[in-house]
Amino acid sequence: MTTVSETSYTDSEVAMGNSYEYKVAAVSGDQIGENSTIVSVGVTFTQIQNIQTQKEEGTIVLQWDQVSGAQEYRVYKDGEAITTVSETSYTDTDVTVGEEYEYYVTIVSGNQEGGQSSTATVLAGGEEVGYFGSLEVTPWPEDLSQDMKQYFTQVDFDGDGVPYVFDRYLGRDDAEVDFEEKDGGNFRTMSEELSTWDPQQSTGTASGWVQSKIYNALVQYVPGTTEVMPDLAKAWEVSDDGLTYTFYLRENVEFHNGEEMTSEDVKWSFDRLKDQAYHSPRRQWHVDYIESTEATDDYTFKITLQEPYAPFLTLLTYSSFDVLPKDYCSAREEVVGEPGNQTVEVEWTDNPVGTGPWQYESYELGSKVVLVENEDYYTGEPYLDKLTREFSADPDVIVQSFNAGDIDITGIPSNHWESFLEKEDEGEVEITEYAELATFWLMINCNDTRFQNVTLRRAITMGINRQKVVQDQFKGRYEVANGPLPPTMKFFPEGVHEEDPNSFDLNKSRELLDSIGAVDTDGDGIREYDGEELSFELSSYVSPTWQAGAQVWMSDLEKVGIEMTYEQYDFATILQMGGSGNYEMMTLGWIADYPDPVNFYDNWDGEQIPSVNWARYDDEEVTQWISELRTTSDPDEREQLVQKIEEKLQLEVPHMWFFHSKAYVATYPELNNVRAGGMGFYKEKMVNPWFSD
């Protein structure tokens, strides 16, 4: 069929499914040599790759990658061949909205068939089951890798049974939203007053509550969990080295003032966080982790990290990474002062504008804030029409206001626990319990020469009855902490806290004290250690819990020959003592900013002395593990690291672990669908909840 001078030949004129016979002979002038042996080759089918579906009302569009050599494709729907086409796409108009269909495609070559694609399952869209805001409104971002396409196609972030790409109501309760019936209502709450409208200045839950309603970040929590799902970024990609994060932004998302959100706004917001003039208390998160940011086109935003940081996506859920409207904000703020000592005068905080489900209506200083629904929210308007929040921080006032029907939700303080249980029995209220990512502890100053001795720290820990105090004070509502991490934290190794190597045991405590030569030589009932009476002060912030605990522990320790005194300070003083290291033992706790163990482990990271590591615990091994944990993204490896860190900290007790708190919230039965949890109620975007009549 042809003559060539090389010793190879490529035949592209073959049809898949057929087999061909070839033989070769040498040619010299007119002479033809002896034929080679005959080889028989069957042309196999190449598998069709990358079948994708798009939906429009009443139609489903299939698309797949061109296979070279393939002339025709056959489309199967629910197992039956429906048509044969020569293009690489097919539009099926014979679909019923709300029905689910399965498609696959094969290559047809003569009467041979093969190369079957994977099966695509599609829920037909339309009015009832929309797909607004999901990925197929716009095609997949061009640069998104096959793996990530696959991931975003299949994953069902919010567990409502609708895969993410088809989930119009991402994060909402279900696909069938009976809007009219659930629409309306004013949800009234009461809390401490917010301290700032600027999400980059916000550090607490009081301010965080408004920020989570008004703004969106690139990613968000799945309501009620600590899992991350898309928010303003509809998809993302992480480079193999873990350094570059590419975020593909949703299109057609508008700020409350009608301007469209683009990557310029994201970029500006990140730069603003980094700008020293703004003095953001969370600026460090940009400075420490992020190398550079770039808006590569209107809907693509790239972040390059200095080194891999495994929990980076969860970090981005924090309000300091919320996206602000560039044009609106920059026109209303001004940097003043000399370089090096600049501050910013921000004038938009009297009317903050974001992309969130709720928009600012009014704020009366010292009284209340009112937010109204954003009807153009990208996943549809919230059921509720209004959120009001009165400012009063006193738990008793909040409970009484709830009892009087002035507000719709309240936390339940321990002293009201029993009366709420009764009300629950009578069906008057509903109580929801959810774990908080929090640990409270007694912090030991490891800089104190005596407390550098691990055995002494252990002996003291065994000498105090933490169990009893948790039981007595919280009526069994909170969990005794046996180690630093709350067990609901991701990567928490199963069972690591089950046994406390330093559980309450007076005899063992005495033995350990004897073993380090801390004995009572002068007969006053108090042991001497290092030439001094073994005596120290427990300093705490004003709290009946700690006070009651201190009473118990003082007498516990007296029994083993240690003198503990107790003093209460106001919180600002406690913070100063902790920061300066001017204390012996003090009470504090940690509530996660973002749900990753590393956020907790800053407390024992030798590099973080005295910034966050106020116990001044400096252990080379632990510091090394923590730093590995930051950069390791493999879940199994992370869990192993956490296990090692937990075990060592548990044993060496730089802090004496006390309890993991939980949140208990009461609502009236008319309120449905509040999904708080994981990171706390303040992060709930309140898109889902609704009132029944």
């Binding site: 009461m190 007053e193 301290s195 700032t196 409208w197 600027d198 200045q201 550090t203 607490g204 020293q276 003095h279 953001s280 208390p281 600026r283 460090q284 000592n341 501050t343 921000v346 905080t349 009366e364 200083l365 010292g366 009284s367 209340k368 009165e390 400012f391 009063s392 921080a393 006193d394 006032v397 909040i398 009484q400 206001s401 009892n403 009087a404 029907g405 002035d406 300070y569 106001d570 919180f571 600002a572 003083t573 913070l575 100063q576 003592m577 902790g578 920061g579 504090l588 940690w590 900013d593 005295p610 910034s611 966050v612």
Partner: protein, 322 residues
């Protein structure tokens, strides 16, 4: 009558008082342990952020410089921004709080006066009758009940049980001092007014009663009666006016006491007035607010005292102001 020299002298004295209060207040505030920047940023703030904020707020300046700055800024009416409410001006915050506290303080005073003067008067006039016994009972109970307990009782009965009022009055601050808001919002603040006014009412009842008793035994009353004046004229014109002198002069002082009670009442009712602002600002080390509150309150005290002294001479022309 009131003479100018006297007022000038008093104003001069007022400046001295202000200066003293400022010095003591500043020292107590700034020397107390606790770092405002740390308190604002919380436990998790890193050191650089805290230092940046200290610099922004001028906390790294030597104390005498800060002492001078705060004073000069106060006099120039440049009170700066709050440490706790970022971006909010101190004047704005005070303007959102003072109207509330003043509102219920004034109404508590009205409540106390309206209740106590007739009750005290009748009790004295009808001494040892059931009215008198009632007035004694009311004043004893009223004085003995602690504010916080009465407040909790009122919340339990009026707000939770009968559902007549909200626990925390939810009223736009702006409308409190407008017409007709000034009168219509009494119902919203009813619980607070009663709670705060009761003790004052009790004290005033007792005072009115005893001073009326004193006056009624004076010779000029006997004289008036001897002249054949109507009993009504005797009591209302001759006795009441004299009996009221100690009551009226103590009213101003009582108003200041009411502000003191504000801390307790506002905590119980969760109302964000001056009392709670003061406590919160101390806890959060919000220096600009503390200083501004201290000075504005002192101005108020000085001013009210001046009014009281002037009112002496109006009610009782024998009092000479020098």
């Amino acid at each position: 009558m009131v003479n100018k020299e006297y007022i000038l002298k008093r104003l001069g004295l007022a400046v001295l008082v202000m200066f003293g209060v400022y010095t003591i207040g500043f020292t107590l505030t700034f020397v107390a342990p606790g770092n405002p920047a740390q308190a604002a940023l919380g436990q998790k703030a890193n050191k650089e952020a805290v230092e940046a904020l200290e610099e922004q707020w001028g906390l790294n300046e030597p104390l005498p410089v800060q002492y001078k700055n705060y004073l000069i800024n106060f006099i120039n009416l440049d009170w700066g921004e709050s440490f706790r409410y970022r971006g909010e001006s101190v004047t704005g915050i005070l303007a959102s709080r003072y109207p509330k506290t003043m509102y219920y303080a004034v109404w508590s005073l009205v409540f106390a006066i309206v209740m106590s003067i007739p009750l005290g008067l009748i009790a004295a006039y009808k001494q040892n009758t059931w009215v008198d016994n009632l007035s004694v009972l009311v004043s004893q109970v009223g004085i003995s009940i602690p504010n916080f307990w009465l407040g909790m009782l009122i919340i339990a009965i009026l707000a939770v049980w009968l559902d007549l009022i909200s626990v925390v009055p939810d009223v736009p601050t702006g409308s409190l001092w407008s017409f007709p808001g000034f009168f219509t919002h009494v119902t919203d603040y009813f619980g607070i007014i009663i709670t705060l006014g009761t003790a004052l009412m009790a004290r005033n009842t007792r005072m009115t009663r005893s001073s009326t008793l004193d006056v009624l035994s004076e010779e000029y009353i006997t004289m008036a009666r001897a002249k054949g004046l109507k009993e009504r004229t005797v009591v209302l014109k001759h006795a009441l006016r004299n009996a009221l002198i100690p009551v009226v002069t103590s009213i101003g002082f009582n108003l200041l006491l009411l502000f003191g009670g504000a801390v307790v009442v506002e905590t119980v009712f969760g109302l964000n007035g001056i009392g709670k602002l003061y406590i919160d600002s101390i806890i959060r080390r919000d220096y600009p607010i503390i200083i501004a509150l201290l000075l504005t309150y002192t101005i108020g005290v000085v001013f009210v005292n001046l009014i009281i002294d002037i009112s002496y001479s109006v009610i009782d022309p024998r009092v000479q102001l020098r």
